[in-house]
């Protein structure tokens, strides 16, 4: 099952839990399941049903631009991190 890391700023919702394993095929399924497990999770990272533009999703060290529809593999590691630009 993919491992999803709970951002430190949202661990108040997860009671301190740092990561969870859950059955999911894409980011949307992860977000919806986490919102059930930790109510309020989705509102903290989504705007209008999409990942907030100030965040990006890292799946196995790849910064996906596909947001909610990005696919995850059975052994994937998923992180929600700030979006970065460059010079």
């Amino acid at each position: 099952m993919p491992t999803v890391f709970i951002p430190a700023q949202l661990r108040e919702l997860s009671g301190g839990t740092q990561s969870v394993e859950l059955e999911a095929k894409n980011v949307r399924e992860i977000v919806y399941q986490l919102d059930v497990m930790f109510p309020g999770f989705k509102d903290r990272i989504c705007i209008d049903g999409n990942i907030s533009p100030s965040l990006q999703v890292s799946i196995d060290s790849v910064m996906t631009s596909r947001g909610m529809i990005a696919k995850v593999q059975p052994h994937s590691e998923v992180h929600f991190i700030p979006a970065i630009g460059g010079g």
Binding site: L55, I81, G85, G86, G87
Partner: protein, 752 residues
């Protein structure tokens, strides 16, 4: 290490745009002249923070030669919409208000009105006749002051966002970030040695030599054509269209040759203004910033306050890190604090770390990216602490870095683990270098080292190649070329097809011509647009294989394509050019195309060695010798890779030793010229030796990693470490200019 032998990659051909650029023929934006073109001038705020009470343009309008005057009333009202600019996102209302102030001016230099006239001098004279009545407000330009509860508030409607959670009252802190890995507090308890310091860095500017410039022609049919100095024609198009609330397809952006950017030419400043002036005047309008405008009203990179702490075991293992970072955002939210937080411990495998970061609004221009945005500041802090803890534990500065360097599988403080990376290899190259193994030989001299990191991104790129009847190729791509990227992209296409670099005619297309391509930034062009060119070449080869099968009367599956680009099958072996000529004669014509969107960071690591001599009488630092080492993955054109390393390093040296925004008591910038904002001249620096490490990036067909940004990261830290080794004085503030260093040396001596 990559061992593949290439024909074109790794060679050093003369760049395709070279002759134009050494004869004065290359056309930059300010060189563009259209029939009937007017000159624009932007009137800017003399105050750091003020309410605009009224703007009276009547006298200016009556000036002979004036064709149009623009104020905030002419700008469409844009909502708080977040626009994705490819590399980062932006709130359009802030973007628009940064182009032309709405109710308030938030920094000296903030645009308040603009004039188009037959001549720039007339436009300026008329602009000076515009009467702007201001109510001057209290202002703030130091990050910690701006965070105070009773600080002058820039925006009434901005509250702190802590990953989606909003504070209940407005402040100058739009964003608070927090990262945790392991249990830092417990780890510090177990540490044998701990070092902690506070650091400050000044606001600095990218300092590109070409001031921002634009030509806009708003056609009667609603089409807007823009020629501009931009790092990304497609993001420029999008920003302009969104601010003006017109369809994207109505805007054509032609990227002219661009005189430097370094991250500072991504945001639009002049385009919407020039467009609206052109619309009003019914004629094309050119606006160019003055150098003072560039300093006061474009986007410098953040000044910062940082408190960083690290803890280690006696054997030198770094086990705990803690950082509290506050970065200037400037007048609008969206500074470089995110990457600052993510880079503060990015070179070291520290199991337990905690990082807090604050984006802070203050009365300076909105900050923007500058080569590895946000990383140089934190490296100045962390890389000094690493030296300091090494000294405390009796270790060598290199040894402690080797011991703790991140490698494949190390986890970043923000969570993700690194794929294969090259920091260890860079440190090894440092250790083997002639520089490291040559002792210093004089009084007041010191040597310092530092490591550096920048992510490097992929994003979207496109390429199309049209085959000419002689087998040469016209390559169309969309990455504005700031430093020779046309050639490094063309070389990758030449390599895959078995051609020479000179057989390719690369062209940077406009937004109606090139396929969608994100900005020239994030160290991505040679990596991602190069990959697009490679894929376009592969696309051509597949088409040619199918067509050759008809020609050669065999199945396409019977035709193989060698590494040298030779097509072999049915007893024939023909190179690309010959086959292209044959196919052309047979009535075929060939266009290859590709779009790519690689998403894995290219992870550029580097390490640098600085030797300095400090004049004890004045505090002046002379850089005696400098070596910049970097993992390029694979250097396509080694001369231009070296150029990136050398250029970034010297910018970092300037940031370290001299450059800073000085503010007067009224919080207006005091040194908005190249005389007073002193960037390194040729006389201030030595040769910059380079060592290119090539660990090969598995995400790229030729192993390329981005190289543009990382070289600016280590210099302030490497120089601070060198200064310490020369003087026993720890410099915790940038720049380490003579007066500051002299004072610090005096107090060091006094305390001894």
């Amino acid at each position: 290490m990559t061992t593949t032998q290439y024909r074109v990659i790794g060679s050093r051909p003369v760049r395709h745009d070279g002759a134009d650029k050494v004869t004065g023929k290359a056309i930059y934006t300010a060189d563009t002249k259209l029939p009937g073109m007017l000159a624009g001038f932007v009137l800017r705020s003399p105050h750091a923070h003020a309410k605009i009470i009224s703007i009276d343009t009547s006298e200016a309008e009556a000036t002979p030669g004036v064709h149009a005057i623009l104020t905030n009333a002419d700008f469409p009202n844009v909502e708080n919409k977040i626009a994705d600019l490819g590399e980062g996102s932006v709130n359009l209302s802030y973007l628009s208000a940064n182009c032309m102030a709405q109710q308030k001016v938030l920094y000296r230099g903030h645009a308040v009105a603009a004039v188009a006239a037959t001549d720039v001098h007339i436009a300026e004279e008329a602009a000076r006749k515009i009467k702007v009545e201001y109510e001057v407000l209290d202002s703030v330009t130091w990050v910690l002051d701006a965070m105070e509860e009773n600080a002058p508030l820039l925006h009434e409607d901005i509250v702190t966002d802590s990953m989606g959670e909003k504070a209940d009252k407005p402040s100058n802190i739009p964003v608070h970030l927090h990262f945790e890995k392991g249990d830092a507090a417990a780890a510090f308890e177990e540490a044998d040695g701990i070092v902690e310091r506070e650091f400050k860095t000044a606001t600095v500017h990218q300092g590109y030599i070409e001031p921002h410039a634009v030509v806009a022609d708003y056609n009667e049919d609603g089409r807007l054509r823009i020629w501009t100095a931009t790092q990304g024609s497609f993001t420029c198009r999008q920003q302009t269209a969104e601010i003006l609330q017109i369809p994207l397809g109505n805007v054509l952006v032609t990227p002219c040759e661009i005189g430097g950017g370094f991250g500072g030419k991504i945001t639009v400043y002049l385009e919407p203004t020039a467009a609206l002036l052109s619309k009003k005047a019914g004629r094309p309008v050119r606006i160019a910033m003055t150098r003072a405008d560039v300093f006061e009203a474009s986007g410098p990179t953040p000044g910062s306050f940082m408190r960083v702490k690290i803890g280690a075991k006696n054997d030198g293992t770094l086990i705990a890190g803690e950082a509290w970072l506050a970065y200037d955002a400037g007048a609008y939210p969206g500074g470089m604090i995110g990457p600052g937080c993510m880079c503060v411990f990015s070179c070291y495998d520290i199991d337990h770390a905690i990082v807090d970061g604050y984006d802070v609004l203050l009365n300076k221009p909105k900050t923007s990216a500058y080569r590895a945005p946000g990383a140089t500041q934190v490296a100045f802090a962390t890389e000094q602490l690493v030296d300091e803890i090494a000294e405390k534990l009796g270790m060598c500065a290199l040894e402690i870095r080797e011991k703790n360097a991140v490698k494949e599988g190390s986890r970043r403080v923000d969570g993700p683990v690194y794929p294969p990376i090259g920091l260890v290899e860079c440190l090894d190259a440092l250790k083997q270098s002639e520089h490291w193994n040559t002792p210093l030989d004089g009084p007041h001299q010191g040597r310092g080292i530092a490591a550096g990191f920048w992510f490097g991104c992929g994003l979207k790129s496109s390429a199309a190649c049209t085959v000419n009847s002689d087998g040469t190729i016209n390559l169309m791509e969309g990455s504005t070329d700031i430093g020779g990227s046309r050639t490094s992209i063309a070389m990758q296409l030449a390599e895959v097809l078995g051609l020479e670099a000179e057989d390719i005619n690369p062209q940077v297309g406009d937004t109606d011509t090139a396929g969608y391509t994100d900005v020239t930034g994030g160290s991505r062009v040679t990596f991602a647009t190069g990959m697009a060119a490679y894929e376009a070449g592969r696309d051509l080869q597949q088409q040619m294989r199918t067509l050759a099968a008809d020609l050669w009367d065999c199945s396409a599956d019977d035709i193989t394509i060698g590494e040298d680009g030779v097509f072999s099958g049915n007893g024939k072996a023909v190179g690309f050019k010959a086959l292209a000529v044959e196919l052309f004669a047979a009535g075929e014509h060939l266009v290859g195309r590709a779009t790519v969107a690689p998403e894995c960071p290219t992870n550029g690591f580097g390490a640098q060695i600085a030797d300095v001599e400090v004049d004890p009488e004045t505090g002046k630092v002379t850089v005696l010798r400098y070596t910049t080492i970097q993992d390029a993955g694979k250097a396509i054109h080694p001369s231009y890779v070296e150029g990136q390393l050398q250029g970034g390093t010297v910018q970092g040296i300037g940031w370290a030793l001299n450059e800073e925004y000085f503010y007067r008591d009224d919080n207006t910038m005091a040194n908005a010229s190249f005389l007073d904002y002193r960037m390194p001249t040729m006389l201030d620096v030595p040769m910059i030796d380079t060592i290119i490490v090539e660990t090969g990036n598995p995400e790229h067909p030729y192993g390329v990693r981005g190289v543009g940004e990382t070289p600016i990261v280590p210099p302030p830290a490497a120089l601070a470490n060198a200064i310490y080794n020369a003087t026993d004085t720890r410099m915790t503030e940038l720049p380490m200019s003579p007066p500051k260093l002299w004072k610090a040396m005096q107090s060091e001596q006094a305390s001894e």
